[in-house]
């Protein structure tokens, strides 16, 4: 009997230990007092490679150098898993202290974050020092909830070699949709195509903006895509694939086959992309990569821009220190470092030269300036993920001629309103 009591006790003890280990430091994502004493802050951020991860770790060191009492505990996952993990952590009340936030996700996650207005004015950080479109993107219900480290307008990447070989004038600031169509037709010789059409809604949006000035979300913050302007632009885009045939059939809605970059592979000669991919593209491509702003339509050369920043969660026990850390992460030193390393096109205007100088991209500065000047924030709605998923699934069918533009836009609108 004595033995069995002992086993019971041991089993119970083991269970307690296990449970304690499972629950960890539940509810608190930071430890230590908030009066200048040593503090450990968790920082959750995405990264796609070791190089990228090391850049973030370097930024974390910068924080500790400036504020020796703050230690950063860095946690990371690839970009796509990041949002799922963040959601589950937030749901279980274990959100990390500092998180990365992408502008188009602000409506979805903004309510997890602390408004930074008071902190910013105390620390003397001015929103005007950053690119306005991304600062606005990182607001939630009119309040700044994150400070940006990078920004990028969606722009046209083109294959310089192919344009030269075809005797075409290279796309430049001020080029038009007609010139685009002409170039695409001249360049297309199946299986090589002039343009790479993709099923993501962000790929269509710049064309809608340039043709009509309409965005995906209206002034009331509601999704508004089932209207004549979107219909016209989506039909025009569909025709690129199924009527004009200047773009190859769209492969699949999912990443694994879509990630095979048809532009970098040399199978298509123009493609919309962000400057965040430019340095990588120039390293990987076997041809010269040029960039140009969106070709101007009836409404001008308009595009969207998005970027990311850092915010402090409501869950954080030491928001003062967390903001101190964020202020270092978006400081001129940190953003210059990220720009110089080619990790980000800095959102802090004064540091943008680091990106051009560190990566030999001075040639694209006029294009970047022109595109940024004509960029509107990538405004979304809280259920944006439903919009993106529904749109891209149906877009594959519609673009390939197995569904109507009406189906595409009405289904998307329906998802976004439910």
């Amino acid at each position: 009997m004595r033995i069995s009591r002992l086993t019971k006790f041991l089993a119970a003890a083991a269970a307690v230990v296990l449970l304690a280990a499972c629950s960890g430091n539940s509810g608190s994502s930071s430890s230590g007092s908030s009066s200048g004493g040593p503090v450990t802050l968790t920082w959750f951020m995405w990264s796609g490679s070791d190089v990228e991860k090391n850049a973030w770790l370097h930024i974390a060191d910068m924080v500790t150098q400036k504020y020796p009492n703050i230690k950063i505990q860095f946690e990371t996952t690839p970009f796509n898993d990041f949002w799922t993990k963040l959601t589950t952590e937030a749901a279980s009340g274990q959100a990390p202290c500092i998180i990365g936030l992408q502008g188009q996700r602000a409506p979805q996650f903004g309510n997890l974050l602390v408004p930074l207005g008071d902190y910013m004015s105390k620390a003397g950080i001015k929103a005007e020092d950053f690119v306005p479109s991304i600062t606005k993107n990182l607001q939630y219900e009119g309040k700044q909830v994150a400070l940006p480290y990078d920004v990028g307008p969606f722009i046209m990447f083109y294959n310089k070699d192919a344009f030269k070989a075809a005797g075409l004038k290279e796309p430049a600031i001020g080029w038009t949709t007609d010139e685009f169509m002409n170039a695409a037709k001249t360049l297309t010789k199946p299986p090589k195509y002039g343009f790479w059409a993709q099923s993501d809604i962000g790929q269509l949006l710049p064309w809608v903006l340039s043709s009509s000035g309409k965005a995906a979300v209206n002034a009331d913050g509601k999704l508004d895509v089932n209207n004549p302007e979107w219909h016209a632009a989506a039909q025009w885009y569909t025709d690129l694939v199924s009527k004009e045939k200047v773009a190859p059939p769209v492969a699949s809605a999912n990443s694994s086959s879509a990630s095979a970059n048809q532009f970098l592979a040399g199978n298509t000669y123009m493609s919309l992309d962000g400057p965040w991919d430019l340095i990588n593209a120039r390293e990987q491509a076997k041809f010269k990569v040029g960039i140009a702003p969106m070709p101007a339509g009836p409404s001008g050369s308009k595009t969207w821009s998005d970027g990311s920043g850092f915010g402090v969660t409501q869950n954080c026990k030491t928001p003062d220190e967390a903001f101190q850390a964020v202020s270092v992460m978006v400081s001129p030193e940190a953003e210059s470092y990220l720009g110089d390393q080619g990790r980000a096109y800095p959102a802090l205007i004064s540091t943008q030269n680091s990106w051009y100088e560190g990566n030999h991209t001075q040639d694209v500065k006029p294009v970047m300036d022109a595109a940024l000047a004509n960029a509107t924030p990538y405004t979304t709605i809280p259920t944006w993920q439903q919009v993106v998923t529904t749109f891209s699934k149906q877009a594959v069918a519609t673009y390939n001629g197995q569904g109507s533009v009406d189906e595409l836009l009405s289904q998307t609108q329906e998802q976004g309103s439910s």
Binding site: V250, S252, S257, Q402
Partner: protein, 311 residues
């Protein structure tokens, strides 16, 4: 042989001791079992109960939960998308299960036939896709099937025509998912059938041969009936897993184009983990569970007609 009363008492005493001893073992056994029991409770029993409860709620991941009774089930039954998902799942099952069984049985018979050398090697090779991660297989398949992929390039060089856009076409997407699933799944069933075929006594087939039965007759009249228990086992498991098909469709086509490859679990994943409607997703899981349960019960009832357990 007579049993003395003293022996009886002694035996009884030992029995009591043994029972006591067993009782002691029982406690130790509980201790040893505790870790896996806790695991089972925490990671299987608890989620099952939780999903049943969550299914009656409007349960966003972040935000407040409200009890809505059977509303989730009502929404599902009236949702066109969910009907499509059920239909797609049944189409997948009807295409995949028979093909899988025929191919794996065919290969098992071929490997087991006389005159085949290096059986072990073939078995290993055919089993490799089954132990390769689905995602890896899917990535390779999408490289093969995409425009400018292997098939497309070969067709362009050989015939000068472009191959169909398999993954981007409503017609071809589901067959592509089925193809990948067969590639992924035939190895396991082949191994099961292979073992069952090896267990068929040669004396029976030889006797039949002497009686004048040909190869085909021997296979269909002797071998096949003898391995029906293994076929039953394979069919039940393959059916259950094919109703739960997810990774192949998700990685290859993302459930598209349109909703052409949105199976029930892809739909569940979308609702639960992309749209964060956990209540609705839990309801989908229970509908799926009930469908699988009913079909499996019918299979067990039906097996009496065709499965032969006696030797």
């Amino acid at each position: 042989m007579t049993v003395l009363p003293a022996d009886v008492t002694a035996a009884a005493a030992t029995a009591t001791q043994a029972r006591r001893g067993r009782r002691g073992d029982g406690k130790a056994a509980t201790g040893f079992m505790a870790p896996s029991m806790l695991g089972l409770l925490a990671f299987t029993a608890f989620p099952i109960v939780a999903s049943l409860i969550i299914g009656f709620y409007n349960w966003p991941v972040i935000g407040s939960h409200t009890f809505i009774g059977l509303k989730n089930y009502e929404n599902l039954l009236t949702s066109k998308e969910f009907h499509t998902a059920i239909l797609n799942t049944f189409v997948f099952v009807l295409l995949y299960v028979p093909l899988n069984i025929v191919i794996s049985l065919g290969l098992a018979v071929w490997i087991g036939s006389k005159g085949i050398r290096l059986r072990g090697l073939y078995r290993t090779i055919f089993f490799i896709p089954a132990v390769t991660p689905v995602v890896a297989n899917a990535a390779i398949f999408s490289l093969i099937l995409s425009p400018n992929g292997l098939i497309d390039s070969l067709m362009q060089t050989w015939f000068g025509v472009q191959a169909p856009n398999f993954l981007g076409s409503k017609t071809w997407a589901m067959p592509a998912v089925v193809m990948l699933s067969i590639w992924q799944g035939f190895g396991y069933n082949m191994l099961v059938f292979s073992a069952a075929l090896d267990a068929v006594p040669t004396s029976l087939t030889e006797a039949a041969a002497i009686d004048g039965a040909g190869t085909v007759a021997r296979f269909f009249r002797i071998v096949l009936p003898l391995i029906t228990p293994s076929i039953f086992f394979a069919v039940v498991l393959t059916l259950i897993s094919s109703f739960q098909v997810f990774t192949q469709a998700y990685v290859l086509t993302g459930g598209g184009p349109g909703n052409a490859t949105t199976t029930m679990v892809v739909y569940l994943y979308e609702q639960g983990f992309q749209f964060y409607k956990m209540g609705l997703a839990s309801a989908v899981a229970w509908v799926l569970f009930i469908i699988i349960l009913v079909i499996t019960v019918f299979q067990f009832i039906g097996q009496k007609r065709w499965v032969h357990y006696d030797q």
